[in-house]
Point group: C2
Chain length 565, copies 2
């Protein structure tokens, strides 16, 4: 390929309505053009990257034994009625009426269609297991589409669905898919973690999210610094301290704290570290109020709290009026001592001794408080958010916290859909059995944006090798009316192509500075410069995208260097 | 690939609601499954074929210098308002409202989107010419979807759009695309003709349809038996005979034909060949009635007639009452002699002598009629449909008539869309100039059906080599518990793969007859049978899909045979 015959359309201006760096860089590099809110055209440059991702995904899905097919984008309402999702899916479902007033939707996902396919095509357990996938355009009518292709309405997705006679078989294929996803994101050159996840709206038993680590990520994840452990921060266990609470050494003392309500105020006022203070939250329980006690520096994890038997399935703070009525003081002065409601203490708070806590009297706190001596504890439980430095729940290493962008998701769906749609096969005994299903998604177009979020600098994108539109740019200095440098560029291109290296010649005739800025902006990993002077010397000027210095190398050496990548 | 790990789902029953052979065979072979009217799922088997077509299309488009991109399927109404097509496109346009009640459509074609893209991205004539294409799912809400994927509502299309400063440049790219299409359909192994076509609703100057020849085709086309000439039958010229009318030898004689009105009746009654009879049609002219005279065995071509200056732009037969009033007799007895309205004579009819024609009196005809002596002729013109055996208009060979399935279409759009949407670039003088456009479509999914219409027999599909799901089936006899034949099959598969031959092992353990029937139904071009007996003898049993006899060949010879294909 020659850029003189390509359509490259970089822009200097930073787009005003772009929210994050990947969106800005995709627009500036000319990979994308917005057609409507959340709806984008992939230019020839953008599509090259998208196709590289797609190819890796396809190769690894095939290698894992999944069978590619293609389901329609337009799906009839009747199927969605069978699972109840026509109503439940909500406003993201783009509903359509055809000319005969029949109702359809633009598929945001394909559980209904594939389950309908499976119940018609699969008759016997002998046909199982099967794993079908497709790479296809989906539409979700987001209320607020944003971040470019990161949260677009029309997007490219790989979705796979597996069918099984038993849950054990489902778990096996789940693991095969987990491994395939790991290979995909590794091959794409991304920093990622496979994160234990809540399975959310799609439902089912077990699920992992594959998160690309990037500061702009919407999800917070906790992962071990030495093992594979990773979990969504809402789900990460805060393991119990290995110690127990030391024996009390201080006397319980009432102190005046007239205006000090927050941990920060108390800790400053009493000159005590926040880790020695107790934070007591009053929430709505199933029967009256419940007190939740945390170490001063910790935060409540509402997902964990909601699962406590004493709570009604969600964690909602009590109103001030109710607190005053039942406990007799305002929030800010509450503590576990003397409370008559259930007191649930976080594992880390439970090993405190001689701590500071509210005295359940306005304007007063205790110092020198101790659990065993002074308070009635209903139960110790894990109710806090993990923090960096916590021990990893798998026993290996300590936790780090990072932000992530979800690019893949694997689920064990179980029998949810198959049951609702009566998708059965005959087992060995000739009895109809509802199938077990797994489903496995990858946001193909989102990966492109996520990779940029993880790989950019002030000059532009820095593509991982496997995703770059081209691996090598051959920049020609003064190509106009200069047959020798043009011929040398063509010969070099052909030589690289024979080595399966995807290269492009920049023969647009731009000034070197402008040309190099374009090549850096669009993120080509390797740059070779061909000039008249270099030709005479038999050298090429090489620079890796990640570096700031050129290397002048003999031609053969430059080629050998590229071959090593 | 092994069929034991694939999902092959052939059916014996002939689907009741299938209209044509390709649809029946795609359903029976398990390539397709219907989701809703005109909406189909491509199974793993079907998708293999679709992808092979797609790959050939992509390779040839790239070779022709076109740049692949990907536009959204969902398009905003505002763009379609600019060209007026939101209303004009009619009921095929699937209109959609999003959650914010904004109006969109599911793209049936992308002239508006690409022209919007071009006007934003292209600034200077230096960027031209450019030819963008995509391979993408389209939706057209057909009133009566039928014939399976031949006329589906959701379908896969390759659409390309080129941009130019001048009409000459547009014509050049048009020729490049014409040649690329010729290569595509040739590589796919299809019998086809590039047919001059009316450009129809999309508008523009010049256009060709690429028609796959098949009896079930909806379009009739005329083509030379020796040259490249081909035209839609409505447009094919009936060239003037090289002779002139012989001199009169018979006297004009009035004969009674009391009940004989049609050419067939007259010709039988008077024992005269239909080629010696004249057919006179009375149509509505711009000013009163007009007579159109044809040789008795010829048919009026209404598209040609409508272009006559004497007609109002369409060819409509006059009503009987009007004919009786003006001419004085009923239709069936009309002839040119003595008429006072314009008489337009077809080229073939104009060289008749001593012919039979109506006498403009009920129940009477003339014999021995001659133009010069007996009638007033306004003009000789080409107004008939060509028939097989006519001279080809390009001067080479004679015409054949066949039916065709349109699989591709190339247009010179001119400035239609660019003008409506103000898509301009600056020319050398810095002046804004409206661009010229070409557009080039291929019905990717329709090709699959068209290929079957051209290639099937009672046993099933007979794929052209390039489109087959696999080129070779390696059929294993008794694969269960028979390591030797399985190993031999695996070794053969690997050997063929190294030769870039796409092979599949049928190791499902079916009885040979059932297995062979499946392999024939799904249309694999070459079959190799591996059995214990053959292994001992070092032979393979080979059969080409098109043949009815097996050949027992030494292994190396069988492989060499496949390599030659």
């Amino acid at each position: 390929m020659r850029l003189s015959q390509f359509h490259l359309s970089t822009v200097k201006e930073i787009p005003a309505d772009a929210d994050i760096e990947s969106q800005r860089l995709m627009l500036r590099s000319g990979m994308l053009r917005k057609l409507a809110a959340g709806i984008y055209t992939w230019t020839p440059l953008g599509l090259r990257v998208l196709r590289k991702v797609e190819t890796v995904v396809r190769e690894e899905m095939n290698r894992a034994g999944a069978l590619e097919m293609l389901m329609p984008s337009i799906q009839p309402k009747e199927l969605w009625d069978e699972t109840g999702r026509w109503e439940k899916f909500g406003g993201q479902l783009l509903k359509i009426k055809d000319r005969a007033e029949r109702e359809f939707c633009y598929g945001p996902t394909h559980e209904e269609v594939i389950t309908d396919f499976a119940r018609a095509e699969l008759r016997s357990y002998k046909q199982l297991p099967l794993n079908f996938y497709q790479i296809q355009t989906k539409f979700r009518d987001e209320i607020r589409p944003r971040f470019g292709v990161m949260r677009a309405r029309e997007f490219l997705m790989k979705d796979a669905y597996s069918f099984h006679l038993t849950p054990e078989c489902m778990a096996q294929t789940y693991q095969v898919m987990f491994d395939a996803y790991t290979r995909i994101f590794t091959r794409l050159g991304l920093q990622f973690r496979a994160v234990q996840a809540d399975s959310g709206a799609i439902g089912g038993n077990s699920s992992h999210e594959f998160q690309v680590l990037a500061e702009s990520g919407e999800d917070a994840i906790a992962f071990s610094d030495t093992s594979d452990f990773a979990a969504n921060i809402e789900l990460a266990e805060a393991v119990a301290p290995s110690t127990i609470a030391p024996a009390a050494t201080a006397a319980l003392t009432l102190v005046d704290t007239p205006k000090q309500k927050t941990i920060e105020e108390i800790s400053g006022f009493l000159k005590v570290d926040p880790t020695q203070c107790l934070k007591t939250l009053i929430v709505q329980g199933r029967d009256g109020l419940v007190a939740l006690c945390l170490r001063g520096d910790h935060e409540i994890n509402e997902v964990k709290a909601a699962k406590l038997a004493e709570l009604p399935g969600e964690s909602v703070l009590a109103e001030e009026a109710q607190i005053v009525k039942i406990i007799g003081c305002k929030p800010g002065f509450i503590g576990p001592i003397g409370l008559t409601i259930p007191v649930i203490v976080d594992r880390a708070a439970a090993v405190l001794a001689d701590f500071v806590c509210g005295a359940n009297k306005d304007g007063q706190h205790y110092t020198g408080a101790n659990w065993q001596r002074d308070a009635q504890v209903t139960r110790v439980a894990d109710i806090r958010k993990v923090v960096a430095g916590d021990a990893s729940p798998d026993g290996h290493g300590t936790l780090k916290i990072a932000r992530g962008i979800e690019v893949g998701h694997v689920f064990q769906l179980g029998q949810n859909y198959a049951q609702a749609m009566n998708a059965t096969v005959l087992d060995e005994a000739g009895k109809a059995r509802v199938m077990y299903m797994g489903c496995y998604g990858i946001g193909v177009s989102r990966i492109v944006a996520a990779a940029i979020e993880q790989n950019f600098d002030t000059a532009g994108i820095r593509w991982p090798e496997a995703m770059a539109p081209w691996q090598v740019a051959i920049c020609v200095i003064n190509p106009k009316n200069n047959a020798e440098v043009n011929d040398a560029a063509t010969a070099l291109l052909q030589e690289l192509q024979q080595m399966q290296i995807d290269a492009v010649i920049d023969d647009r005739g731009l000034r070197p500075g402008v040309m190099f800025a374009d090549i850096e902006l669009i993120g080509i990993p390797h740059r070779l410069v061909i000039s008249e002077r270099g030709l005479l010397a038999g050298t090429l000027e090489y620079r890796a995208r990640a570096e700031t210095e050129n290397q002048v190398l003999p031609r053969a050496e430059a080629i050998a260097l590229l071959q090593r990548h």
